[in-house]
Symmetry: C2
Subunit: 184 residues, 2 copies
DNA sequence: TTTTTAAACCTCGGAGTCGATATATCTTGC
DNA sequence: GCAAGATATATCGACTCCGAGGTTTAAAAA
């Protein structure tokens, strides 16, 4: 998803892609060569991208990768109907956010933000005692667990705040677009 | 690591462990049976835990798992010298935080928090233009990318604030412990 | 009485990822 | 003139993890 998402902006070669994906995913989590190049080949076989050999600007020749219409469709499908992990896993959700603008309908964009918002709304119960009863932060003995829950709560509120503002704006824009089409 | 960490608190059976790990890791990311049970067996083979069959309280018999001294040592080793991902990947870092209190030396605890703090200090450059130059948030066209960077920045500051306070407290406690031992 | 449901455990195959290794190209320093 | 290092691409085996399926046990529902 990140590969196709970046290629939507402009053509890139593998080495460049590697660095961009690394900077984005999980914030500087490197992606291995053994992962990247087979994936590129898979996307090429699926006709999601085309390859054009160009002289390397500094060294060995590059394979400039360009996204196709099939690839764009695939990307949109992934964005429109993501696996559950893309909503609940922070790292994956960040990837969603990074490319959500490629979903051009503001209503579809708002829908995704709403799904994330709904997920964040559930109260976090991270730790349980021997009987299975959830332990509230103030009854935790470990200061690290206490901090973990505090940070979790605080960062959730920050994101919820942004999500609400963004959803409102998107819905307004969607409503405006509808009114435009209806000529009212 | 999460398995041994939870078993440090009190003995548990696999099914219970599954739910606890799921609640913690990535906040309600379920862990598959096909991952859990082979891992338990691996830890048992490595003598990190022992198994004692007990009648199931509700249904089928349970295998109560208890951590051994070897397991405790292993857990401490993982906490003391974690793979890089445990500092840079939010999900994994949360697992670190959840069990860091099992590292009993406050100086070692502070050291880990300091490593995380150092990582968070690096300015996040998530997106780059065609020339490879980083794009600051205000020049991003996508509101989602802009929001991503804002949220990232804000949540980082929240965590840094907590880290600093916690590190100071731990160092004070460590210093106090030293003074106690030196009898001054 | 039988069926269903839930608790609890386990295995296997496939998919995905990584680390090591290899190769080609160009620039820079010695 | 040559070695070193960065750029750039690729493959292979090992490892991890998941999902699908299957088993046993007991309680609850039919």
């Amino acid at each position: 998803m990140a590969i196709l998402g970046f290629l939507r902006d402009f053509p890139l070669h593998g080495y460049d892609l590697k660095n961009r994906v690394a900077s984005l995913a999980g914030h500087v989590r490197p992606i291995a060569d053994g992962t990247l190049y087979p994936t590129i080949k898979k996307l090429e076989d699926a006709q999601c991208l085309t390859r054009r050999t160009a002289p390397g600007s500094v060294a060995a020749p590059r394979h400039m990768l360009e996204i196709t219409q099939t690839g764009t469709d695939q990307l949109r499908r992934w964005l429109r109907d993501p696996e559950p992990g893309f909503i609940t896993d922070d790292n994956k959700w960040y990837v969603m956010l990074a490319f959500l603008h490629h979903l051009e309908n503001p209503r579809e964009q708002a829908l995704m933000l709403a799904r994330r918002r709904e997920f964040l709304d559930q109260p976090a119960q991270l730790f349980f005692d021997a009987d299975g009863a959830p332990i509230p932060p103030e009854r935790l003995e470990s200061p690290f667990r206490k901090g973990l829950m505090q940070i979790h709560r605080s960062t959730n509120l920050t994101e919820i705040d942004w999500l609400d503002r963004q959803i409102a704006e998107l819905n307004q824009r969607a409503g405006y677009a509808v009114r435009q089409r209806e000529g009212s």
